[in-house]
């Protein structure tokens, strides 16, 4: 799950798509317009984002409307923050140990 999230985020086009969706939901064609790549390529990026559950799709008649789901982003950020905090704490302990009179 976390792997899917980080993989999805590891591409500038996908990050740009998420940035656009964070401003509000959009149709696939609307979303593809600013990118200098084919609609097909944009669709592939969108599918990857959907697999990571970062993007959700709903149908309104014949339109596919996409929206952002921020929850996996929160989880990825939490994981990074926790892992970093654990090591920061261990290095803090190391500093304390090194300052002890030998």
């Amino acid at each position: 799950m976390l792997d899917d999230t980080l993989l999805a985020l590891a591409d500038p086009t996908r990050r740009a798509i998420l940035a656009r969706l964070s401003a509000g939901e959009a149709r696939v064609t609307e979303l593809a317009k600013p990118f200098p790549i084919s609609l097909n390529s944009v669709s592939k990026h969108i599918r990857l984002l959907e697999r990571a559950d970062l993007v959700r799709r709903r149908r309104a008649g014949r339109e596919h409307i996409l929206s952002i789901n921020p929850q996996p982003l929160d989880e990825a950020a939490a994981w990074i923050a926790e892992t970093r905090a654990i090591w920061a704490h261990r290095l803090e302990l190391l500093d304390v140990i090194l300052k002890e009179p030998s």
Partner: protein, 139 residues
């Protein structure tokens, strides 16, 4: 997919002293693999490339937690790389790299941890709480 976390910290101690602490079983057992409520019942380091380390932390709520790994690079006092596995939490081996450079009278250490597991998350969260409790006691 590799996940990477980087932490940097400055020390007043020399690069050699910081480096050596990681390969000293008594010291390493107190800061790398220890928990505030645990008791380090086994701490073994075979400090050569290809050598293994084993640490067993006896925790009141979990029993004996084994930490094991292998040294991949030992370049005193600049760089130390080792693999790191806690079989109780996950089967995936992760890698920790330390880069130490002299800075003023002390040194700066950059730690890079690659490939930490999603399964490990819940445990990490639990561990973090314990660690913060311990920090409050130390400082």
């Amino acid at each position: 997919m590799t996940r990477t976390v980087t932490v940097t910290r400055r020390f007043d101690a020399s690069a050699e002293a910081v480096f050596d602490a990681w390969l000293d079983p008594k010291k390493a057992g107190r800061f790398v693999f220890a928990t505030p409520t645990g008791q380090m019942v086994r701490a073994e380091i075979d400090a050569r490339v290809g050598g293994k380390f084993v640490f067993v932390d006896r925790r009141p709520e979990m029993g004996d937690v084994l930490h094991e790994g292998e040294y991949l690079e030992i370049d005193r006092p600049r760089r130390l790389v080792f693999t790191f596995l806690v079989p109780q939490y996950s089967k995936e081996v992760t890698t920790v790299a330390l880069d130490i450079r002299p800075l003023g009278a002390g040194c700066e250490l950059t730690l890079t941890h690659e490939g930490v597991l999603p399964d490990y998350e819940a445990q990490t969260q639990q561990g973090w709480g314990m660690i913060l409790d311990g920090l409050a006691k130390v400082v």
